[in-house]
Each structure stands twice: as structure tokens, then as C-alpha cells.
Symmetry: C2
Subunit: 411 residues, 2 copies
């Protein structure tokens, strides 16, 4: 008896541990970003309102067909960010209108032909339009802005063309559907915008500034780690900058749809954020190389490191200072004064010069006594260069970024 | 008269030029990848078949409600890759089944309560389930595998719960809908798989190998450009590797759904491709740094470059040879023999040693005569190191990659 129970109990324990791990993961997901939980509740609320609407209004006493569209719209259109909901809502509305209108037109034309002609025209129209619009979804502009609209256009056009074959009161039906879809979209947008709105633009803004701060932190830590030999957890911060392209692009595309909110005006230059993001990624690539060098198998001797430490630390702290300054100026949406940015550019140039000077002054610190020493000296010099070089090129990249960001501030 | 015509004609010319540019862009899009055109035609065909089905079968003589679902399924499920269609089709089928089943269960429970109780239970169930499932879409596993299914689950559950308030024959209706959805999914999958199928797995395979080749090409070209002073167009090839993470991830996620096809068996280790992709990206980060150094404002003198040229060229050609070897072994799906990979690893190690040796032998080539010369020598040495260093760290990264890819081949 006990033998039989034991594996079962083991399995039960393993399953319980797994469930507990899952539950903890889910809990942390919600605790880290409570807006995700709120988003779930918002969708539930929107659906409850839509279905109430459906129960109570005598408008929908007939078939459940038209009311269905309101529910469907809410489920499909409701997105995490306001920009996402607006993108889907506007696309859905416009596509339903144009697709339905075109289908009614085709229908009218087909009804003039005989019964066979009608079938040919309707089928031909569905085939040709579906093919064309599906192909058009590969065009970059349409892909980023109207992808969802293209799908809904095909859907509405096919549905109306097909169903119209049986139903006579097409225009009436179309009106009903449009009104229900409009109700669905309005409920979505009202709830999405009024209750704890998540703006794609604000998210993008925060992502970019936090990436800047992370980059500044990990630059400082990486250089400090290298010279002190400690391991700081924040050194890896630049890694998340490397892979943020996808989320930056999608947030940037959605932010375009958002109306003026908070400190972001109408037609805010969101594409500038994507440019800053690209410049930051360039910077992060360099960090990756710098980090690889500092963890390389070959390490410079301590004496060597000490000699270079001050100059390198100064350069890295100046660089990260610029990044932090830029980040805080973006945060507060004020442009850095050109005099202060010129000052910082001058300071960083001086720091670069100092690193160069320290490097070339290195050999004079050592007394060359014999061949071996010379050899050793060269080796040492090579390795110190190994670590300082990425720093110098990093400084160059930083200068480039500061130029770019200045352009953004002016925009 | 002429004055009025002139701006109109100008506008017309500008518009015509714009339209011509657009048309050419679209034409090139189709000519570069004819499969995109074929995809459009496939969707058109699937829709034409589904609507035919609808016209002819007496099954759908009643309301257009049920037949609509077949059309909708085709429009929404049909994706460019087989994996995408399977992912959406299976998700849609499973979610409709579970969502509908659960809704009927809730309905049955609600019907036992009074009229007020029924309303409360139905509304409560919609609110709670919609909130829970929407939140669950943020859980990583569900996001990558079942995101679409979660949406459809909410949709079906809400629709059935809401519509069931009026319609008695829920089970009958559910059966009808399921069968039409099944018909839509089957038509999609049959057309998608039989007519010029685009497999996500094959796409991923080609993307990874072409990225490897691009990296090898641009490594060769970059080093050659640096020493010869020419500009090769292929040098920028690594840039597309930097940004391929998003497409690799999505293709990898879709490839999991595909059945065995061509040389890819069931449960092929697709995640290994993502690991190779990450290793390649690491390599590309290094290429970025290397490229930045070779385009830096400070350039080493020609004499210096000549001295290092042979060793650097050898190292880069060895490295790119390994990359090409790996790429061709992945292309032909055979694992590289461990002896040949050991040989290549040895060769690359030797090449690295040679670069190091050449670097340390540099100073003996110059006669030091006075202070200025020494200064100049140091400057020269520094700069040569500036360019050779990334190459060395690059070689390290390459070794790492070869180790990783070996592991993949063994898998």
C-alpha cells in the first residue's frame, strides 16, 4: 500500500511545487506592473457594459447577429495602450465603412447582370480584391499603419458580398452593423482612456530615458568593475538596450495614433525617439565590446591599470554624466541650453585627450633594463590599450549621440 | 489661361511621378519575392472557395449567421507561413471549443437560478473570465504560444453567454458554428500547405545561414577595405544581422507548430536556431565596433598597416572560413566532423598568435633616433593596436560561436 502511495505522493509534491512556482511567477507579473491587472479588469468591465447594453435595449430584439458585432469589437479592439486601441478602433471603423460600401456597390452592379453573371461578378470581385489587399499588406507603410484595417476590409467586403446574395436589405443591415461597431469602439476608447490610461507615447518616453540611465549606469559600473575587480549587478544594464528595438518600433507606431496628452502635443515628433533609440543601441554595441574586453582572458597588470585608472574613470564619468544630463532633459522635456552642452562637449574632449596623454606617457614610468623588460613593457602597453581603446571609441559614439539628441531637443 | 494651367499641370506631374515611384516600389516588392504575390492569390482562392461552398450547400439556407464564421475564419487564420496558419487555426479551434463549452456550462448553471440570479451569474462570469484571461495574456508562455487563442476564448465565451440569453438551442448553434469554423480552418490549411507552401522553419533556416554568410562576407570585406582603402558594398552586411532578432523569434515560435517537412523532422530543435542567432548577433556587435574603428578619424600610417596586413588578413579569412564552413554544414544538415572543426580551431588559434607576434615585433622595424621619433612611434603603435584589437576579440567571439554551433550540430 505504502509503495503505491509513495510515487503518487511524489508526483503530487512535484505538481504542487510546479503550481506554486507558476503562481509566484504570475503574482510577480502582477505585482511588478499592476497596470496589467488593471488592464484585465478594464476589458472585463467593457465586456460587461456591452453585454448589458445588449440585454436591455429593444433595438436588438431580433436576431443576435448585429449585437454580436459590438461584443466582438470590444474583444478585438481593446489593447493595453491607448494608441493600440485607437489604431485598431480607427482601422476597424474605416475598413468596415469602405469595405461595406464597396461591397454594396459591387452588389448593385452584379444585380444588373443575369443570375450567372451575378455569381461570376461577386466571386471575381472577392477573389481579386482579397488578393490585392492581402498583397498590399506587405507594403511597408500599410504594414505599419493599416495592417489591421486591411484584414477587416477583406473580412467586411467578403461577408457583405456573400451574405448579400440572400439578404435584400443590405443597406439597412450595414447601418445596423456600423452602429453596433461604433458603440463597441466608443465603449473601448472611453474605458481605455478614462480609467488608468496607458499611453504608448509615455511608455516610449520612459523606455528611452530608462535605457539612457541604464547605459550610463552600466558604463560607470563596467569601468569601475574593471579597475577594482568587483562585479556589479548593474553592469549588464546595457543588454536590455540591445534588444529594445522591437518594442521601441511598435510603441513608436502606436504613439502616432494618440491625441495630445500630458506634455506631448499633437504631432509630437515620435520618430525622433526612434532615432535616439538607434543611437543608444549603437552605444550599447560599443558597451558590449568594452565589456567583452574587460572580461577577456588577457589582463593588464595591476600597476598598469592603476596608471590609467584616473583618466579612464574621468572619461567614463563624463560620458555617463552627459547621458544622464540628456536623459533628465528629455524627462523634463526642456532642451539643454546650447552653452551647457558645448561645455560638456568640451569637457569630454579634454577627458579623451587626457586618456591619450596618459597612454603615451606610460613608458616613461618604467626603467628599461634589459630585453625581457622591454618585451614585457610592450606587452603591458598593448594590453592597456586593449582596454582603453573601446573607451575612446565609446567617447566618440557618445559625442555623436549628444549631437543627435541636440537635434531632437531643437525639434 | 496658361498661368492657371501651369500649377495644375505641375501638381499633375508631381502626382504622376509619385504614383510611378509607388508603382515601382510595389512592383519590386513582388518581383523580389514572388511568394508574396502567390500568397495574395492563395487568400483570394480560399475566400472564393469558401463563398462557393456557402452559395451551394442547402445547410446554410437559414440565417447567414453560421456561414459567416467560415468566411471570417479564412480571412483571419490565413497567414503567410504554414506555421502561422497552423498556430492561428489550432488556437482558434481549441479556443472556440473550450470557450463555447464553458459558456454552455455557465449557462446551464445560470438557468437553475432565478431571472435576477441568471443575469448576475452571466455578467459575473463574463467579467471574471475576461479579466483573468486578458491578464493571462501577459504570461510569457501564453504570449508566445496561445495569445490568439486567449482572444478567441474570450470572444467565444462572451458571444455564447450573451446570445444564449435569447436563443434556446445553444448546443445546436454551437455545433453549427464549430463545423463551419472547422471547414474554414481546413480550407485554409489545405491551400496553405499544398500550393507553394512557405514553411516558417525553412525561412528560419535560410535566415540563419544567410546571416552567417553575410557576416563572413562583411568580415572579409571590412578588413580588406581597411587595408586597401576601397569601399565594398558588402561590408554593411552585418547590419542586417544586428536587427534580425524579432524575425528570428517570431519564425522560431511559428516553426514549432509545423509538422515534419522536407529535412526537418518532428520536434526539430528550433530553439537551437535562436541560440545560433544570438551568437551571430554577438559577433555582429563586435563587427560594428570593428567597423567603427576602421572608419575612425585617427588612421594608422600606411607603413604600419602594411606590416600588419598579412597577419590580419589571414586571421579574418580563417574566421570567415569557419563561418562559411558552419553555414554550409547547417545548409546540408550534416554535422561537421569533430576532427575538421578541431583543425579549424587550431588554425584560428595560430592565426591569433601570429597577429600577436606581428604586433610585438613592430618596434624593431623602426630606428629610434630622437625624442620626436619615439613619440611618433608610440603614436603609430597605438593606432595599429587600435585596429587590430577588435580583430583579436572578434576571433575570441568566433571561437565561442564555433563551440556553440558544435553543440547545435550534436543536437
Amino acid at each position: 500500500m505504502e509503495r503505491e502511495l509513495s510515487p503518487a505522493r511524489q508526483a503530487w509534491c512535484a505538481a504542487r511545487a510546479k503550481i506554486a512556482a507558476c503562481a509566484e511567477m504570475v503574482w510577480r507579473l502582477g505585482a511588478d506592473d499592476p497596470r496589467k491587472v488593471v488592464h484585465g479588469l478594464k476589458v472585463g468591465l467593457a465586456l460587461a457594459i456591452v453585454s448589458h447594453f445588449y440585454y436591455l435595449r429593444p433595438l436588438y430584439d431580433g436576431v443576435g447577429g448585429a449585437a454580436m458585432w459590438a461584443v466582438m469589437t470590444v474583444v478585438v479592439v481593446f489593447e493595453f495602450t491607448v494608441g493600440g486601441s485607437l489604431y485598431k478602433g480607427l482601422n476597424r471603423g474605416a475598413a468596415t465603412l469602405t469595405g461595406g460600401g464597396l461591397a454594396i456597390g459591387v452588389h448593385w452592379a452584379a444585380s444588373k447582370a443575369g443570375q450567372t453573371g451575378e455569381l461570376v461578378i461577386l466571386n471575381g470581385a472577392v477573389f481579386i480584391l482579397a488578393s490585392l489587399v492581402t498583397f498590399s499588406r506587405f507594403i511597408p507603410v500599410i504594414k505599419t499603419r493599416f495592417d489591421y484595417g486591411a484584414t477587416i476590409f477583406i473580412l467586411t467586403f467578403s461577408l457583405v458580398t456573400v451574405s448579400g446574395y440572400r439578404v435584400d436589405q443590405l443597406v439597412n443591415l450595414a447601418q445596423q452593423r456600423l452602429s453596433t461597431i461604433a458603440i463597441g469602439i466608443s465603449i473601448c476608447l472611453i474605458i481605455c482612456t478614462l480609467i488608468c490610461p496607458v499611453w504608448a507615447g509615455t511608455e516610449l518616453h520612459l523606455l528611452i530615458t530608462s535605457n539612457m540611465d541604464k547605459l550610463a549606469d552600466s558604463l560607470d559600473c563596467c569601468v569601475e568593475d574593471y579597475f577594482t575587480g568587483k562585479e556589479d549587478r548593474r553592469t549588464g544594464g546595457y543588454k536590455s538596450v540591445l534588444n529594445s528595438k522591437a518594442s521601441e518600433d511598435s510603441l513608436g507606431n502606436l504613439a502616432v495614433w494618440e491625441p495630445a496628452h500630458g506634455r506631448f502635443g499633437f504631432q509630437f515628433p515620435w520618430s525622433q525617439y526612434q532615432k535616439i533609440g538607434a543611437a543608444l543601441r549603437n552605444c550599447a554595441y560599443c558597451m558590449e565590446a568594452l565589456n567583452a574586453t574587460s572580461h577577456s582572458q588577457i589582463q593588464a597588470p595591476e600597476l598598469m591599470k592603476k596608471h590609467l585608472m584616473d583618466a579612464c574613470m574621468k572619461l567614463s564619468s563624463k560620458s555617463s554624466e552627459i547621458l544622464r544630463e540628456l536623459s533628465s532633459s528629455i524627462k523634463s522635456m526642456r532642451s539643454t541650453s546650447s552653452s551647457s552642452s558645448a561645455l560638456m562637449a568640451k569637457e569630454i574632449k579634454e577627458a579623451v585627450e587626457e586618456v591619450k596623454r596618459t597612454l603615451s606617457s606610460l613608458p616613461s614610468n618604467y626603467q628599461l633594463s634589459n630585453e625581457e623588460d622591454v618585451e614585457m613593457l610592450y606587452r603591458v602597453k598593448k594590453q592597456s590599450l586593449m582596454e582603453s581603446l573601446p573607451l575612446v571609441s565609446f567617447a566618440f559614439l557618445l559625442m555623436e549621440i549628444s549631437v543627435k539628441v541636440d537635434a531632437v531637443d531643437k525639434a
